[in-house]
């Protein structure tokens, strides 16, 4: 029995500043399929288009050409409100710069993606606390982001990505700001998530990530194209 295809890109391209002298083809006619529970690494040097491809897969950016199918539905044609729903229900994002909101607490940051679902505040808190406990951050739930170490910030970002129980985790250069020990810790958390059935798509050029044994597929990119 073949694995279920969760995400598919068909000849997808993303061009910035089209028709202008500074036109950049960040992603050039990429077609790929990602199955449920895959651990996919998008590998390549800076400027190769990894982040753009990740943003196209995560419905944060529309392609200039081509199709992005999420569970066989063409996300390109969907209006913004549906894309928001897909982002909310299907994807959990871990950004390179983490993008945690500094002025609020760890727990509040983790709770953020769940507010728009309309759940009761107590339920949102319960979910956040379970995740914080799982990621060994419960004691720091009332801390402000600036009071955390790099690894703790990273784990907060992971908790925030997981709160809506997404099927796919997208991580952009997740180990870029971590030392080796923290990077290994992060990868072990990702491994656990994969064991729970999550699909992982990681954009990175860190060998420590793409040399992990549980990676099922490596997509190598250069100048916007898959090699």
């Amino acid at each position: 029995m073949s694995a279920e295809v969760l995400i598919e890109t068909i000849e997808v391209s993303r061009i910035y500043n089209p028709g202008m002298p500074c036109e950049v083809k960040a992603v050039d006619r990429i077609s790929l399929k990602i199955n449920r529970s895959d651990v996919v690494v998008i590998k390549g040097p800076s400027g190769s288009g990894k982040t753009t491809l990740l943003s196209l897969i995560g419905c944060m950016s529309r392609p200039t050409e081509g199709k992005v199918l999420i569970k066989e539905k063409d996300a390109v044609k969907l209006p913004e409100s549906f894309l928001t729903q897909i982002r909310r229900d299907t994807f959990g994002f871990i950004f390179q710069q983490l993008h945690l909101i500094e002025g609020i607490t760890v727990e509040e940051n983790v709770m953020l993606p769940m507010y728009p679902l309309g759940a009761r505040l107590d339920d949102i808190k319960d979910s956040a606390e379970k995740l914080l406990k799982k990621l060994d951050l419960l004691k720091k739930k009332s801390y402000k982001i600036k009071q955390l170490s790099g690894g703790e910030k990273q784990r907060t970002a992971i908790a925030r990505a997981l709160i809506n129980n997404p099927e796919v985790i997208l991580a952009d250069e997740p180990t870029a700001h971590l030392d080796t020990a923290l990077s290994e810790e992060f990868m072990s958390i990702l491994y656990d998530l994969n064991q729970e059935g999550k699909t992982l798509i990681i954009a990175t050029h860190d060998p420590l990530v793409y040399q992990e044994p549980y990676i099922t597929r490596i997509i190598e990119m250069r100048d916007g194209a898959v090699l």
Partner: protein, 270 residues
């Protein structure tokens, strides 16, 4: 007022300085070193303090005797004029008849007080205008765009699954809470400053170096009209100005990864 010789009426300032009550005795020493004793039969009320605080009223004969003045001499005279329009004419005639005198009319006294207080109120108004200008500059700054931090925040929210209406609702309530909290805090602090602490920050500006009797003591009064006017003038504009740029900013896509940047850039249109 004193009805017989040996009696006097005094102001509250005199009574407090000499520790005298109504019915007590006031001892005054003349320039020749003679002591005169007067029984206090009248005490001016607090309402008239601005004029009577340091006043002692004696019978004519007592004054003449105390100062050693000739019987037919007076230093101050009160002239009552029934037709107010005649006052300047009569003042002029008095000057003509007695060149060494200086008539002071009631309108001149009122004008002097008004001058003293008006220019000071102008000073306070200038300070207030500065504060108001600062408020509008701040509000304008908010209205004309989002800060980099706010752009980033909206970008993050969009990227983690918030839609435009969620962000607008959040920002609307954020604006309401911030402006209402500021308004109420300002109102309470102003009330405490004026009514409990005696307005130490504005009284020097109003009184200057002069000594004003009675003491300038604002009394507690909450005027609903004033509160509504301040509310309308501050809370509503601030809410709108807080909300307006967010309306423009939150409608765009998160655009993570666009143009090779790894920042959320939700503002500029595609």
């Amino acid at each position: 007022m004193p009805e017989e010789r040996g009696e006097c009426a005094i102001g509250r300032g005199v009574a407090q300085t000499r520790y005298i009550r109504l019915g007590g005795e006031l001892i005054l020493t003349s320039s020749k070193g003679e002591h005169f004793l007067f029984r206090v039969t009248g005490l001016f009320t607090a309402d008239s303090e601005i004029l009577t605080n340091d006043l002692i009223v004696l019978k004519n004969q007592d004054v003449i005797e105390f100062f050693g003045m000739p019987e037919n001499r007076a230093t101050d005279l009160v002239v009552q004029v029934y037709n107010e329009r005649e006052v300047p004419v009569i003042a002029y005639k008095i000057t003509e008849m007695f060149p060494g005198t200086r008539p002071i009319t009631r309108s001149e006294i009122i004008r002097t007080y008004e001058t003293v207080f008006n220019w000071r109120s102008g000073m306070v108004l200038a300070m207030f205008a500065g504060a108001l200008a600062a408020f509008f500059i701040l509000a304008w700054d908010k209205a004309t765009g989002l800060s980099a931090e706010e752009r980033k925040e909206i970008g993050i929210l969009k990227a983690i699954g918030w839609n435009t209406s969620d962000i607008l609702t959040l920002k609307f309530w954020e604006g309401v809470v911030i402006s209402l909290t500021s308004f109420l805090t300002g109102l309470i602090l102003a009330y405490i400053h004026v009514f409990f602490l005696g307005a130490p920050l504005i009284v020097p500006a109003i009184k200057g170096w002069s000594v004003v009797f009675p003491d300038l003591r604002p009394f507690p009064q909450v005027n609903p009209n004033h509160i509504v006017v301040i509310l309308v003038a501050t809370v509503f504009p601030l809410c709108v100005k807080h909300f307006n740029p967010v309306v423009e900013g939150s409608g765009n896509r998160p655009r993570y990864g666009d143009e090779g940047l790894r920042l959320c850039r939700p503002i500029t249109g595609e």
